[in-house]
């Protein structure tokens, strides 16, 4: 066989080999996960339509991968973090090291379209017109392809020439002029050898000054059984993404014109007739396969000649898959894994002529063998969707984790891009049952925000995240507040609503309006709090609503007002409801004296709000709070549960106070756990609506976390949601609500995915250490992701909230009976 590549010239995106010219395009990645059936069908049909528009041409498909550009990401993220803490540089470095040690790659799908007009100086106009025509087809829906750049093609040639070698970590530098002096870097020092009828091709190349051998095995697509499109899983050319090793794909697709297809069918019919006649001549029954073939040929011939929508076009296709290994045995084992992945729908075979087949992967090379030609309708080719890839996150956000679906790619997400770039609300909903990894996820988001200098307030009633303030990199700028130990009156409804500052308003009139609004808000909040802590039978009486409202409005809603003043005012309500008001005052007075009311009713008058510079991270916990069971009715709440609901509501306002006092353009983050309890009260709903609405104006990312999404959806939160993260969700209703938050059509089978995230291993009884989430990033991306904090061990230690009794024993030693007796109160 002739040695040397056939490629002679690369001009822009057009390669020339011999007399053949091919225009190369890079397909835009397309999201496949969580698409509805109709969306998938639409993508397949559009793609098939594009293929049919390229009728009469030969296409070359080449799928490869590129290592994630970690350094580029780090530079972009650093540029996005102007106020980062002193420990930022070390953190970014460790994150890069962590990512560098992982096998994370981005898929690249190239399509080469053979051009018909031969290169000639006299036919430049024709050549340009043809290229423009092909460009237009490739840019249309279904392909969304852009002409490949010189750097893209250089990378593709490098990957193809060094087939099976580790992908270069550094991208070729983008330069204005590329000439032949640049190419020896790509092609020198690579040797391919293969024994006659050998099972693999040995590729030897120099990597970092050392000779590396890799064995490449090429398999081809053999028999293909009928398939239902869109496929239940991923498209058939995306399937290799499931494997933990890279698979290179090369295909030649000849889109046939209808005349040729009809001729082929007629030829087949003639053969069938001839064979049938021969069997009858010999008084034998013709094989039933002949009749089946005749019927199929007639039906297809009719389809092709009658089809005007382009979706009946036919192709001849040769599809190759290459896997590699450090040894021939490893490469063959990987080939077996790939074949198993495709079985039984598509049979992969490893034919002879491995050398020639491997050469086909190099752009510009011709097909080495006619064998294993597949006659595929364009719909079948369109359903391959080689560009299908995990699409999630952005390129300049903090590292969140990696995709956990078919392909593994890093997920970076900038929480403030919604407000700063897309000008949308900044509401993120995090919903997942107990043990779904909610605390870890919130902790990671908060840590990554604080280390970048973003002021963050985290309201965590359960207190599981209090250790976040001890992470060394952020400990100096963090504070933990346990509200249960706070001064009495810290959660007074009059105190938690901040007093507007005149300097923040454009005019005195606007300031006065804001002050009046704050007073009204305090009054409404106090009225709601008082009604909530009353027994339901009393609170729901019209007379109660009337007298409480009257008493609240009798007292000005100043920040210095004490709720005890409202109770006193109730005692002085006059008129027909005076007696009832007095009774309500008595009940409220009793409740106000209870220890549970300590935070709401200050016994000694006004408690001034804290002043001074707030820390970057404030974690507010409420240890011992007893929230009602999710979904329970208000009438069934116990008194502690009533107080818990109002305390959480007031704590949310308290948490927001410092956020609103920060400069509007500055990035901020507010995280509220157990957010479902907030929407149980009208003012809680209004509160969430307000922070969601204001988030864009004040550059605030709001994270609402809840065990499931039902209450949040019922409160209408879905209308304001920008992004959502859904963890393990069980129950049909909860799954339906979760899908609505994700913007995914219910009833398409995605419910099962929500129920199956982070499942418990029944044999070991242990939950998987990884927790998967379905993440909708607010920018069209939607994938199953696996948050990763393993690159930050201190954070991992602080966020490990899983109960582990061995830790206590290890720390304190086991108590003896004597110890216990000593500890018993006398």
């Amino acid at each position: 066989m002739k040695s040397g590549v056939a490629l002679k010239k690369i001009e822009g995106n057009v390669t020339t080999s011999g007399t053949e010219r091919t225009a190369w395009f890079l397909l835009a990645p397309a999201r496949w996960s969580f698409r509805s059936t109709s969306e998938c069908n639409q993508l397949i049909a559009s793609s098939a339509q594009r293929y049919s528009e390229l009728g009469g041409r030969r296409l070359r498909l080449r799928v490869t991968s590129r290592p994630y550009a970690v350094a580029e990401w780090a530079a972009a993220l650093d540029a996005q973090s102007p106020n980062a803490l002193p420990g930022w540089a070390d953190h970014l470095l460790s994150q890069q090291r962590h990512l560098g040690g992982m096998v994370l790659a981005e898929k690249l799908a190239f399509v080469g379209v053979d051009l018909k007009v031969a290169a000639s100086k006299r036919r430049r106009a024709e050549m340009a017109a043809e290229v423009a025509e092909v460009d237009a087809v490739m840019a249309a829906a279904g392909m969304d392809a852009e002409p490949a750049t010189s750097a893209d093609l250089e990378y593709l040639i490098q990957r193809s020439v060094s087939l099976g070698m580790p992908a270069p970590l550094e991208m070729p530098p983008t330069v204005d002029v590329l000439d032949e002096t640049d190419l020896p870097e790509i092609t020198d020092g690579v040797e391919w050898t293969c024994d006659p009828y050998g099972r693999s091709v040995k590729v030897t190349a120099e990597v970092d000054g050392e000779k590396v051998d890799r064995y490449v095995v090429v398999q081809v697509a053999g028999r293909m059984q009928p398939m239902d499109i869109p496929e239940a899983g991923e498209p058939w050319l995306q399937r290799p993404d499931r494997l933990p090793f890279p698979v290179e794909i090369s295909a030649e697709i000849n889109v046939l014109d209808n005349a040729k297809v009809t001729k082929g069918f007629n030829h087949a019919l003639a053969l069938v007739r001839s064979q049938t006649g021969m069997y009858l001549e010999h008084s034998l029954d013709p094989p039933s396969a002949l009749e089946r073939q005749r019927q199929t040929a007639l039906a297809l011939e009719d389809q092709v000649s009658a089809g005007y929508d382009g979706l009946q076009a036919r192709t001849e296709s040769w599809i190759r898959y290459a896997v590699s290994g450090a040894t021939e045995a490893e490469a063959l084992d990987r080939a077996r894994q790939l074949a198993k992945l495709y079985a039984p729908g598509i049979t992969l075979v490893r034919p002879s002529g491995q050398y020639g087949l491997a050469r086909e992967f190099i752009p510009g090379s011709s097909r080495s063998s006619d064998a294993h030609k597949r006659h595929l309708p364009v719909l079948h080719v369109g359903a391959a969707v080689p560009q299908a890839a995990a699409m999630i996150g952005d390129k300049d956000g903090p590292y969140l984790g990696r995709t956990a679906g078919t392909s593994q790619r890093p997920v970076m997400w900038n929480p403030h891009a919604a407000m700063e770039v897309r000008e949308r609300s900044g509401l993120l909903v995090v919903a997942g049952t107990l043990g779904s990894g909610k605390s870890t996820l919130l902790g990671k988001l908060a840590h990554d925000a604080v280390i970048r200098g973003v002021p963050t307030v985290l309201l965590d009633p359960s207190g599981r995240l209090k250790d976040l303030t001890t992470v060394p990199a952020i400990a100096a700028v963090s504070r933990h507040i346990d509200l249960m130990d706070a001064v009495p009156g810290a959660l007074s409804p009059y105190r938690v609503v901040p007093e507007p500052q005149e300097a923040a308003y454009p005019s005195h009139a606007a300031y006065l309006d804001a002050r009046a609004g704050a007073e009204a808000e305090r009054q409404e909040l106090c009225e709601e709090i008082l009604l909530t802590i009353l027994p339901a039978s009393l609170a729901d009486m019209p007379a109660t609503l009337m007298v409480v409202g009257k008493a609240v409005r009798a007292i000005r809603g100043l920040q210095t007002t004490n709720p005890h003043q409202v109770i006193e005012a109730l005692r002085h309500v006059e008129g027909s409801n005076a007696e009832h008001a007095s009774d309500v005052a008595e009940v409220l007075d009793g409740r106000a004296r209870s220890p549970l009311a300590r935070l709401i009713f200050p016994p000694n008058g006004y408690v001034p709000p804290e002043t001074g510079k707030a820390p970057l991270l404030t974690v507010i916990t409420m240890a011992g709070i007893t929230l009602p069971q999710q979904g329970s009715k208000r009438q069934d709440w116990t008194t502690p549960e009533r107080f818990a609901v109002v305390q959480l509501r007031l704590a949310a306002s308290l948490a927001t106070r410092s956020i609103y006092s920060t400069e509007a353009n500055a990035r901020k983050m507010l995280m509220l756990d157990e957010a479902w309890a907030l929407v149980l009260t009208p003012s809680g709903k209004a509160f969430i609506e307000r922070v969601s609405r204001d988030s864009r104006k004040v550059n605030l990312r709001v994270c609402l976390a809840s065990q499931d999404a039902m209450e949040l959806v019922a409160a209408g939160v879905a209308n304001w949601v920008d992004a959502a993260m859904i963890g393990t969700t069980t129950g049909a209703d909860a799954q339906r609500d979760a899908l609505s938050l994700l913007g995914v059509e219910a009833g398409c089978g995605y419910e099962a995915i929500l129920g199956g995230l982070s499942q418990r291993d029944r044999r070991s009884g242990k939950r998987s250490p990884v927790r998967d989430w379905v993440f909708q990033d607010g920018n069209g991306g939607l994938e199953v992701i696996r948050p990763d904090i393993s690159g930050t061990p201190e954070l991992m230690a602080a966020l490990d909230t899983t109960a582990d009794p061995t830790k206590v024993i290890a720390a304190n030693g086991r108590l003896t009976l004597d110890d216990e007796l000593e500890l018993m109160p006398v």
Binding site: M1, K2, S3, G4, V5, L7, K8, K9, I10, E11, G12, S150, E154, V161, L178, D179, D182, I186, T187, D188, V190, E191, T193, C194, D195, P196, R223, M224, Q225, P226, M227, D228, I229, G264, A268, L271, Q275, M278, H282, L284, L290, R292, Q293, T296, L300, G353, Y355, G356, R359, S368, S369, D370, A371, R374, H375, L376, P377, L379, H380, A383
Partner: protein
């Protein structure tokens, strides 16, 4: 929607059952017959070229050899792996300059043959 390949249509197996009125016990593909005829012709040519004249016995041996070769190669050929591809693969595998056993280690790539031109917009 269910889609399937058109492969079945193109995979009509043409067999010769025998001359009219005489049905062979085994149906032979036309491909195998062609290979057998070629083999028989080649053997006859070589024998006449070398000058071997063996009469009926040799002719019977030639016929048996042609049948064996036709059957053996015919087995290798299918709709997926055509006779042409078998021949091309055989030639490539036996004459390729890529064998590790050759004295010179062949560099597959010749960078001097490639030229990259950056197109200015």
């Amino acid at each position: 929607m269910r889609v399937e390949t058109d492969d079945t249509v193109y995979q009509v197996t043409s067999r010769w059952l025998g001359p009219k009125g005489l049905t062979f016990p085994v149906a032979v593909t036309y491909g195998s017959i062609g290979i057998g005829v070629l083999t028989w012709g080649l053997l006859t040519f070589i024998e006449s070229f070398v000058g071997i004249h063996g009469g009926v016995v040799l002719n019977l041996v030639d016929l048996a050899a042609a049948l064996a070769v036709g059957y053996f190669i015919g087995e290798k050929i299918s709709h997926d792996v055509t006779g042409r591809s078998v021949l091309l693969t055989f030639l490539a595998e036996t004459n390729g300059a890529h064998r590790a056993t050759t004295e010179c280690e062949h560099a597959v790539l010749r960078p001097d043959l490639i030229k990259i031109v950056k197109v200015t917009e």
